[in-house]
């Protein structure tokens, strides 16, 4: 079945049921095995960094939040931390604790969402239905606290918008119990179900050196044993007071990534309980000037998919000079496209969701285009060969 030469190009996307978001993947296929892969993003590139330069600091908070729907709070937190560093303002302890709780709740929500989507791509619809039904609990909690299930807009420059009252804390505890028990069940399913393991074990295996070499970060790297986690390396907010344990796994394949993400959910549940028990008292917001003094600041936070870096520069006016966002999915891109070689076409959706790519996250910046072998175009093959030679 070869349309041209022995390669057979399968375009997946931009509109494809497997992808929640548009991206155009092209897989060079020989029968059922993939021999080459390329991606063309840009479908979700809205020009946010340019838009940020035309908006005031307060408005940008909500623009940054809408970069990605699944990790909206962590973008806003990184942005506010950067701006507060510039303005020399420190959010009050209670606000920092509430930000950390919202961040961890969002991590649970993001990981359970990913568990469902990855299972759905592997054709395991009942796990998708069950994990998303249970995820509604954490969405309800977030809605009770903030008023919106996805964009909580919890952050203000210099603090937090709303408080966590004792009744809410009790409800959170109850919700966390249910989530804890359900995730234990999912860990058992992921670990034992024969057909599921058949679809995930050995897919996209990546050794620790290769992960470092390709620059993978977040759960994708931690599944290969690379213990990078900004919450431990460079603690921000209250992570020094309420630390977390880095979850790693050694298998490095898709199956390991499932396990790492579910273990991280348990870790998040433990941290939230700990914070709720000793929620520091005090104010919710600190005074924040409308014009931010000139300067540059870098803030790094741990998004559900890996390290998120914000570079914020101000020229003293009420509009930022430059806001650069480098999102975690961007780093994981190079791993997927080089791991795809040699796998089955049927595993492509599973492999792609393995890194839990968030196109709207990284679409503001980068993709890799692969072309034919002629001079100017560098094919992914060549990069891979280059990587191997360089590494030897």
């Amino acid at each position: 079945m070869s349309a041209d030469t022995n390669k057979f190009v399968i375009p997946i996307g931009p509109q494809h049921p497997a992808l929640k978001e548009p991206a155009n993947f092209e897989f060079w296929v020989d029968g059922e095995t993939v021999t080459g892969a390329s991606v063309r993003l840009g479908y979700v590139h809205r020009g946010i960094e340019k838009g940020a330069e035309a908006r005031t600091w307060v408005q940008n908070l909500y623009l940054m939040e809408r970069i990605c729907g699944i990790c909206s709070h962590v973008h806003a937190t990184a942005y506010t931390l950067g701006v507060e560093k510039l303005a020399g303002v420190e959010a009050p302890p209670r606000a920092q604790a509430i930000r950390q709780i919202m961040g961890e709740l969002e991590r649970i929500h993001s990981h359970m969402l990913w568990l469902g989507v990855a299972a759905h791509e592997g054709g395991f619809d009942s796990l998708f239905m069950y994990s998303w039904r249970d995820r509604e609990t954490v969405m309800d909690l977030l809605e009770k606290i903030s008023g919106n299930k996805v964009h909580y807009s919890a952050n203000l420059l210099g603090g937090v918008k709303f408080d966590i009252t004792p009744e809410l804390a009790a409800e959170i505890h109850k919700g966390l119990e249910f989530l804890d028990e359900r995730n234990r069940f999912y860990l058992k399913v992921v670990n034992q179900d024969e057909t599921f393991i058949g679809r995930t074990r050995g897919i996209g295996t990546m050794t620790a050196e290769r992960a470092n070499f390709l620059g993978a970060i977040g759960p994708t790297a931690r599944a290969s044993g690379v213990a990078h986690d900004i919450r431990v390396d460079a603690p921000y907010l209250k992570y020094s007071e309420f630390p977390i344990k880095v979850e790693t796994h050694t298998s490095g394949d898709l199956h390991g990534r499932f396990i790492v993400r579910i273990n991280e959910t348990f870790e998040s549940i433990r941290v939230i309980r700990e914070i709720l028990d000793h929620l520091p008292p005090g104010e919710l917001t600190a005074r924040m000037p409308r014009r931010i003094p000139a300067g540059e600041a870098i803030s790094r936070v741990e998004a559900p998919r890996g390290e998120l870096l914000y570079f914020v520069a101000s020229n003293g006016s009420d509009k930022p000079e430059r806001v650069k966002v480098r999102t975690p999915s961007l780093c994981n891109w190079s791993t997927v496209l080089s791991l795809a070689i040699g796998l089955k076409l049927a595993d492509m959706p599973m492999l792609l969701t393995g890194i839990d790519p968030c196109f709207s996250c990284n679409d503001r910046s980068v993709s890799v285009k692969r072309g034919t072998q002629d001079s100017s175009m560098w094919s992914w093959e060549k990069l891979r060969q280059y990587g191997i030679e360089y590494y030897r």
Partner: protein, 142 residues
């Protein structure tokens, strides 16, 4: 390596009541803090326009009918609004609030998505001004 570890949960849910909320027929009350449609209290408003400056998506316009007597008409664009409650935080006089009752906002055509808030007589004057622009013009809406 047992096959179908989900089996126990599946069979149990066959006899359990389905977890579906029959939405349009059974409407559960929304949580208290739900951020729905904006509501505006014309009495307290002093026309300081801080909410307009802070709104990330230009959802609020204020038409001043009569500056001295603090009579204003607010034009609120439901399709622009992103329901973030920044205006509620910015307004020092507390005349803005996001309702937790009005969140079923789906609609067939776009005109009614820009609704007017304010006292009846102000809206009436504004309407008749829009109808025939030749007549004496209040401050044109931003």
């Amino acid at each position: 390596m047992p096959i179908g570890t989900m089996m126990s949960d599946l069979v149990r849910s066959l006899f359990k009541k389905p977890a579906t909320e029959l939405y349009p027929y059974v409407k559960k009350p929304a949580p208290a803090r739900l951020r729905g449609k904006l509501t505006w209290n014309p009495e307290k408003c002093t026309g300081c326009q801080l909410c307009i400056k802070d709104c990330p998506s230009n959802a609020i316009d204020l038409v001043t009918i009569d500056k001295a007597a603090k009579q204003f008409v607010m034009r609120y664009h439901i399709d622009h609004c992103i329901y973030c409650a920044q205006c509620v935080v910015s307004c020092r006089f507390g005349c803005l609030a996001l309702s937790n009752v009005d969140w079923e906002l789906a609609i067939g055509n776009k005109e009614p998505l820009g609704i007017f808030y304010g006292k009846e007589e102000n809206i009436a004057r504004l309407m008749e001004q829009i109808a025939n622009p030749g007549v004496e013009q209040p401050a044109t809406p931003e």
